[in-house]
Amino acid sequence: MRFWRFPAIAAALAASGFLASAAAFQTTPQPSHEQDFLSRIRRLTVEGRRAGEGYWSPDGKRLVFQSEREPGNPFYQIYAMDLTSGDVKRISNGVGKTTCAFFRPNSDEIEFASTHHDPKSKQYQEEELAFRASGKERRYSWDYDPEMDIYSYSEKTGAMKRLTTARGYDAEGSYSPDGQWIVFSSMRDAYNRTLSAAEQKQLETDPSYFAEIYIMRADGSGQKRLTSVPGYDGGPFFNHDGTRIIWRRFDESGLIANVFTMKLDGTDVKQLTDFGSMSWAPYEHPSGAYIIFSTNKLGFENFELFMVDSAGTKEPVRVTYSDGFDGLPVPSPDGRQLAWTSTRGGGSNGQLYLAQWNHEKALEAIKNAPPRKRT
């Protein structure tokens, strides 16, 4: 699923000389049509260095998100925001790194991935704080900590239950609409077999190459692998009725990503986008009519939201017109609002944004879009 690895990739691309050719994709500024789909745009998060990945509670009254705002911990922790009162409470336990939370439908549980069980967690926190205190700044990057495992947290009891234990990064989880299944991404394949020398080198430079999509029951049982194509498969979500999985697949180079869907058993794989750029973070509108995603086809560091019909028959339609990053779109359960992560407030660190979503205009724009060009 859905996280935010683009700056790491930017650095890699710059080194490989790809950036220059990517810049050629940049188009002349176009008149903005953002207001066709988004209105009453507002910034939701302020505190902390960065925040993102906001996912709705099934009743549409709360968002669970990750934010770097915990005193003494420079890494993401998981928080839930009440959209009525403005109250924010921490969900994770404050230790280590966390990511990718999701409300479990018909339940008081929230899943997320965490490293807090790693005895070295606090040491890493202190090292990172010392690094930042030194005044140095590194580009944001995600390190695919192999200790990352998926947990579920009960809001009633406060109990935390570990759902995965495999060596290797387990994260990017989300529940099915009935709350019975979790689809997630794992790099366990890099640890449960003997790697060739080339693969070993790959693991050291970019472990995400080994990431594949898995499914399991909500209690962690029945873990099953669904993909087996080289390159990073991640960011999976169920579609609106729980019959398909939507995710993004990177090519072997880690440079190009596209949005795919498949059945829950891993069959009937369909590719929905074909921009030759990084198209990722897909999420289906609750109507089931279209998928909103993020792509940098208009400029390497300019990620914009686009949408495409759920069957991928039409050319995607641009949604946002704002410099910098717009990504990780998540429509509200009633389909009338959109939460996403953006740098439009300034600086390079994203924050959560919320806007009214014009579903009728979106349907109309998709209807009028030309058939998808196939390469």
């Binding site: 207001q35 939701l44 302020v46």
Partner: protein
């Protein structure tokens, strides 16, 4: 909001030698990229619900009316506006501050200067060229007395200077550090003499040369150069090939007035011609002298005017006026008891530019002299304080809520600075200060919140309040803003400033009440009231964080590269540079300087005022220790300051 220039004054006045006719409108945030142009938030459902009854409209309309005449500090319009504010404060149940029975807090300020009867006298006595011939003499008598022939410069010292006369060309000295050799005094001895110099800069120079020379042609800079060369007085004439040929220099409206340590005046072209004529040489006229200088050839020098004694008498009457801050409070509804810092303040300046008398009016020629209504700047902020105050008046309060309206902001944050220097409620009892300056022109739901770096508590408070308010927030941590929030930040109070962005009517008569977005102005007031209520009800007040002052390049002079970390106080008249603070961790702090010190000399150059100091910065070198002399409690002290690079 005060003009951006004042911000630079605050941050060491480095733009003052630039022409002031090119305002930099980039006062506001420039976050993000191109904004979309389209329906604003006002077209949304929310606006329909509230458009019926804006609470802020009546306040803005009253404050920005013809009757308040632009609310110039010290004017009748200011008093009319204050009467309105006081009536509204009474209406919502706000009381005069403890121990007072008046809502007005008067302060005195320098509103301008006029000539008090300056004069000039010249006597030429030419010795006989052959023995036995009589002496020849010309006496100009005493000319002046406030007429059209001689006028003191507004920054002149009062006094009389008598001595021989040297014509020093344009009187320009370009500091060596600029790598451009031009020194009008290079070959001249002016010690204890009267210098006559041309106003402006060589008229026919190449544009690039002109650009450099113009930076050092400010009359204050020229006067300082003359003083530093030992001259007793400097007399300016506007040369015949310059604009305003032969005219006197007008008395400028200048609140940062401070004596320049020298007698300085301007004389008419007619008097200058008479003085030059005493040389009895048809070739040596003012026009000829200027023509020789106008291509900026650095080897063309001035000359002594022989056999001549000039006396210059200057008298500047600095006009004092009284402005009024307005302050009231809503008492806590439960006794604060032992609650830490039992006060919170909301404030906005209510003064504006009158008819544009001050230099910061941006009125077009066709609009000059008309009432500057200042509906956005800052009737809108004043209205926000009243609306937020009224909302808070109806709620339980654990802390006392101050509602304060500043005057003198447009003249240089004078009102809030006066308040801070003698606060009726001790500043250390203040949990937080919320300021509003230009909050009536929201576009695309965008609200800028400034000074957020003044406390780590702001992030959470703003986040929480905005979930209901729903603004597209832009945050600026920098508290050194060109508005009264700066005064409170300097005093160590966690502060915020709310701002909806600048616009083309800024500082023009066209900033009128009909252009205000009242629905969103109400929302800003509600948003701030929510934050005020949360701070007011919290057991622990926000902790203050001292933000390092960032030196922004925008609008500044490219040549100024050094950073000294001083914060001048430009509202108090002293000889030297009075510091209202030093930037923590900056060179001045490292040199042991502190608030209240008066810098009188740096790098061997005497400092009579902020302008001298600004010019002195040009000769400082980054990383090179420099001797600095300052006064503390009347005692002269020395220290070493090592300038840093401006970031």
């Amino acid at each position: 909001m005060k003009h951006l220039l004042s911000r630079l004054t605050l941050a060491v006045a480095f733009a003052l030698v630039l022409p002031l006719c090119t305002p930099d409108l980039k006062v506001g945030p420039t976050h993000g990229g191109p904004r979309y142009v389209g329906p604003t938030f006002r077209s949304g459902v929310y606006a329909q619900a509230t458009a019926a009854a804006s609470r802020s409209r009546a306040h803005v309309v009253a404050l920005a009316s013809d009757r308040t005449e632009g609310r110039l500090t010290g004017s009748n319009g200011e008093r009319v506006a204050a009467d309105y504010l006081i009536a509204q404060l009474k209406r919502i149940g706000a009381r005069p501050l403890p121990g007072r029975n008046d809502y007005r807090l008067p302060f005195e300020f320098t509103s301008g200067a006029r000539d008090g009867g300056s004069s000039i006298q010249y006597d030429s006595v030419v010795p006989p060229s052959k023995p036995g011939e009589p002496m020849r003499g010309v006496s100009g008598g005493t000319i002046g007395g406030g007429g059209t022939e001689v006028r003191a410069l507004s920054f002149s010292d009062d006094g009389k200077a008598t001595g021989p006369v040297v014509f020093a060309g344009y009187g320009i000295v370009v500091p060596e550090s600029q790598g451009f050799a031009y020194d009008s005094y290079a070959t001249l001895d002016v010690k204890d003499k009267i210098v006559i110099a041309l106003r402006y800069f060589p008229e026919d120079a190449e544009p690039k040369t002109k650009g450099i020379l113009s930076r050092y042609s400010d009359l204050r800079f020229k006067a300082m150069a003359a003083r530093q060369h030992g001259a007793k007085a400097i007399v300016f004439v506007t040369g015949p090939s310059s604009p305003n040929a032969g005219e006197l220099v007008p008395m400028t409206f200048d609140t940062a007035i401070a004596g320049s340590g020298i007698v300085a005046a301007s004389i008419s072209g007619r008097i200058a011609d008479q003085i030059f004529a005493t040389m009895g040489d048809r070739e040596k006229t003012v026009a000829a002298a200027q023509k020789a200088l106008d291509d900026a050839n650095p080897h063309v020098t001035g000359f002594a005017i022989p056999n001549l004694t000039v006396s210059v008498l200057t008298s500047v009457v600095r006009e004092k006026k009284t402005g009024s801050n307005i302050a009231a409070y809503l008492p806590a509804t439960t006794p604060p008891g032992t609650l830490a810092k039992p006060w919170i303040a909301l404030g906005a300046h209510y003064d504006h530019l009158g008819h544009g008398e001050s230099g910061s009016s941006l009125a077009d020629k066709s609009d000059a002299g008309r009432i500057h209504f200042g509906a956005d700047d800052n009737a809108s902020g004043s209205a926000a304080v009243l609306v937020a105050g009224e909302a808070l008046s109806k709620l339980p309060r654990k802390r006392n809520v101050l509602l304060e309206f500043w005057s003198g902001e447009e003249l240089g944050l004078i009102g809030s600075a006066a308040y801070i220097s003698a606060p009726p409620v001790p500043i250390d009892q203040l949990a937080a200060y919320l300021n509003f300056d230009m909050v009536g022109r929201m576009q695309n739901n965008k609200l800028t919140v400034q000074a957020t770096g003044s406390s780590d508590a702001w992030g959470r408070l703003i986040e929480q309040a905005n979930i209901a308010a729903g603004f597209d927030l832009a945050l600026q941590s920098d508290p050194y803003q060109p508005t009264d929030v700066s005064s409170f930040n300097q005093a160590g109070v966690p502060s915020l400033n709310f701002f909806t962005g600048t616009h083309l009517d800024y500082h023009k008569p066209s900033d009128t009440a009909d252009k205000i977005d009242y629905e969103d102005l109400d929302r800003v007031a509600d948003f701030a009231a929510t934050i005020a209520r949360r701070v007011g009800d919290a057991d622990q007040p926000p902790a203050f964080v001292k933000v390092q002052q960032q030196m922004e390049g925008g609008g500044g002079r490219a040549g100024v590269r050094v950073f000294t970390g001083t914060v001048p106080d430009y509202s108090t008249e002293v000889k030297g540079l009075l510091l209202s603070g030093v930037i923590e961790g900056g060179p001045a702090a490292a040199a042991g300087l502190q608030k209240g010190d008066v810098i009188v000399e740096i790098a061997g150059q005497t400092i009579a005022n902020i302008y001298d100091y600004t010019y002195a910065l040009d000769v400082l070198k980054i990383g090179e220790p420099t001797k600095l002399v300052y006064m503390r409690n009347g005692q002269r002290r020395e220290t070493t300051l090592t300038p840093a690079a401006r970031k």
